[in-house]
């Protein structure tokens, strides 16, 4: 058993899953926004990074890690809600290129602003759990308390989101508003409020992903979510942008693919893994692997 755990195969699977859950969370957050407002939020990663900076600099004031996580998520949600109200709301009904361009601009502003406030050098965050790998019979297992924590936290968040959408009044209203906004309004549901809540939820999930990413060995810097966003987008797109389950599965798949390319070829080429998966997936099913219905929205 321990020989199996320390094998290079398991090493890569653990490493891939650890990165994959972060991708899954970003992908999930993109799907939530896409479902509610049909906007692909290119600033998702940057918004999460910004929120993490605000929350995590509180550590300097002697506030505990967990409180900082909560602050990050809260700030993320506020930024998400404001973004929908101020930047996205005026663009409903405009060509789909307009919100894309605006969010790309917002991405630029957030990254430049963060570099201006906190400098562009990497900031290491005192992680709540040890990053030292376990050993089995003197051999390294690619698992640390932190990696276990990040996988469990991500799974908890995914289950929470699923439960919220599936079993709560709010979740039902969110789903109805996304599926049929006009009918929902006719039933008295405050759809515009639901859209804002959708953005807040999404940004909250994104902030969790950024917190995990920043607490890990890569640390926090203004562009630290760029690559994560790209991988998260690919994960969401592989699933068809509509499917939360597809997004999560896509994230894990890309995490694993990158880890294997990284291990057997070169770390620089790892981003290629996601692109190849996306291209193959889209060639097979242009509407995404996990969407039931074809057809497009005009």
């Amino acid at each position: 058993m321990s020989a199996f755990l320390t094998s290079s195969l398991m090493h890569n699977i653990f490493g891939g899953l650890a990165q994959g859950v972060v991708y899954s969370l970003v992908a999930l957050s993109l799907v939530i926004v896409w479902q509610s407002t049909h906007v692909l939020n290119f600033a998702q990663g940057a918004m999460a990074m910004f929120a993490t900076y605000i929350g995590m600099t509180e550590i300097d004031r002697g506030i505990g890690y967990w409180w900082c996580v909560i602050i990050s998520v809260a700030v993320g949600m506020i930024v998400g809600g404001l973004t929908e109200r101020v930047l996205i709301r005026p663009l409903y009904g405009k060509p789909e290129i307009n919100p894309i361009v605006v969010m790309v601009g917002f991405l630029g502003v957030l990254e430049a602003l963060s570099a201006a406030i906190w400098t562009s050098s990497t900031r290491n965050i005192a992680e709540p759990f040890s990053q030292i790998f376990y050993h089995a019979n003197g051999n390294l297992v690619y698992l640390s308390p932190f990696i276990i924590f990040q996988i469990i936290l991500a799974i908890c968040i995914m289950l929470l989101v699923a439960a919220l959408f599936r079993f709560t009044r709010l979740g039902l209203q969110l789903r109805a508003s996304a599926l049929a906004p006009e009918v929902s309004r006719l039933l008295g549901i405050r759809v515009s409020r639901m859209l804002t809540i959708g953005w807040m939820l999404s940004a909250g999930v994104g902030a969790i992903a950024a917190v995990i990413q920043a607490s890990g060995s890569f640390g926090l810097f203004p562009t630290n979510m760029d690559g994560i966003f790209v991988a998260g987008f690919i994960a969401a797109a592989v699933g068809g942008l509509e499917s939360p389950i597809g997004a999560v599965a896509g994230g894990l798949l890309i995490g694993l693919a990158e880890q294997f390319i990284l291990a057997y070829w070169s770390p620089n080429v790892a981003p290629l893994g996601g692109i190849i998966i996306l291209v193959v997936a889209l060639m097979i099913r242009p509407q995404g692997l996990f969407t039931k219905h074809a057809g497009r929205r005009v």
Binding site: P95, G108, A116, F233, L282
Partner: protein, 360 residues
């Protein structure tokens, strides 16, 4: 007044040739009076204008969005750079042609899966491509020079041009102006081709595909071919611009093509006006003098340019400008002059010129 109007509408190849030549000649004349620093900036702006023009064509005319043009630039730059590094005496035209082909090919490769995609998928895939290009280039250190890049010295000022200059800084002045003039000429040729493309059968088919792909298909337009050719052309322009830019910089380095460059390109294109030649010119001019503009903003607001804020001022300004323009003047800064135009129209009514920059 008819010749005047037809000239500005650029309805015939002749008028387009005259228009582009006149603009280029004017710019070349200006380079004689500009200080060397400004000439270097102008050269960079001309290279960037070529890239913007390709992007403008892609977004404004074919309705496809790309966030990966910094990646296509890198492909062109590396192709030209690697070749020029080993064959230093190759004529510039050939090196640039190589960049065009390399850029176009990379565009085609991206286009094959992309043209079946719409809006956000396309934007995301091209972004992923741009994010992957430079790490991959760094991976092949023996060819691409890795992190440090490749050193280039193919832009040599010819001696006849150098003889035009005298005085203390003759060499510096001559070099700066030579690069500026060269970039302007390359840009003028690219602009002339694009102007003709706008008015060609392909251009019209492209707009039809953008506005109503179902109708276009019914009329016998091959959607996949039209869309992927639009991508290929945009990528070829990016490749050419990227190569020219790197030749001017005298090096090809990964850090020249960060993801933020794609944002900058998009901003400049949107500021100038989507889908127009003038938009690309304006975008290029803004790029040329963006460093000065930012320095100006810093001094106006009293921000220390070496502080964190000062160093990131450009990113903040560009991002804010991109958001504001898209929200309040989606047809570019040019559209802001409409109140003045309206006044003129009241004073002297005449037929309205067709809009090319309108997004659908």
């Amino acid at each position: 007044m008819d010749w005047w109007r037809s000239f500005f509408r650029q309805e015939s190849t002749h008028s387009r040739l005259i228009g582009v030549t006149a603009l280029a000649a004017l710019t070349l004349a200006i380079t004689f009076v500009l200080p060397p620093v400004a000439n270097s900036e102008l050269a960079g702006g001309a290279a960037i204008a070529i890239v913007i023009l390709g992007l403008s064509w892609l977004i404004g005319w074919s309705g496809q969005i790309s966030l990966g043009n910094s990646g296509f630039m890198a492909v062109g730059a590396y192709a030209a750079g690697i070749w020029a590094h080993h064959h230093n005496t190759t004529p510039l035209v050939f090196t640039l042609a190589l960049a065009i082909v390399a850029g176009g090919l990379s565009g085609l490769i991206i286009a094959i899966p992309s043209t079946r995609l719409r809006g956000p998928y396309l934007a995301g895939l091209t972004l992923a491509f741009a994010a992957a290009v430079t790490p991959i280039a760094q991976n092949f250190t023996s060819v691409t020079g890795g992190e440090g890049g490749i050193f280039l010295n193919s832009l040599v000022t010819p001696s006849w041009f150098g003889h035009l200059f005298s005085g203390a800084n003759a060499v510096i002045n001559a070099n700066a102006q030579w690069t500026a003039d060269l970039a302007v000429v390359v840009a003028a040729v690219s602009f002339f081709f694009m102007a003709n493309l706008f008015h060609s059968r392909t251009g019209r088919a492209m707009r039809l595909v953008r506005d109503n792909d179902v109708a276009a298909e019914l009329m016998g337009v091959d959607l996949l071919r039209t869309r992927s050719s639009a991508f290929m052309i945009a990528a070829a322009y990016a490749g050419l611009g990227g190569a020219l830019y790197s030749l001017l910089e005298a090096s090809v380095r990964p850090e020249t093509f960060p993801l933020t460059l794609s944002i900058t390109l998009l901003t400049l294109m949107v500021l100038g006006g989507i889908g127009t030649l003038s938009g690309a010119v304006i975008g290029g001019i803004i790029y040329s003098f963006s460093a000065d503009l930012v320095a100006h903003v810093n001094s106006l607001t009293g921000v220390n340019p070496t502080s964190n804020l000062g160093a990131n001022m450009q990113g903040i300004i560009f991002g804010v400008l991109l958001i504001l323009t898209m929200m309040f003047a989606p047809r570019g800064l040019v559209s802001l002059r409409t109140p003045i135009q309206k006044l003129f129209r009241i004073l002297r009514p005449r037929r309205q010129t067709p809009d090319l920059g309108e997004l659908h």
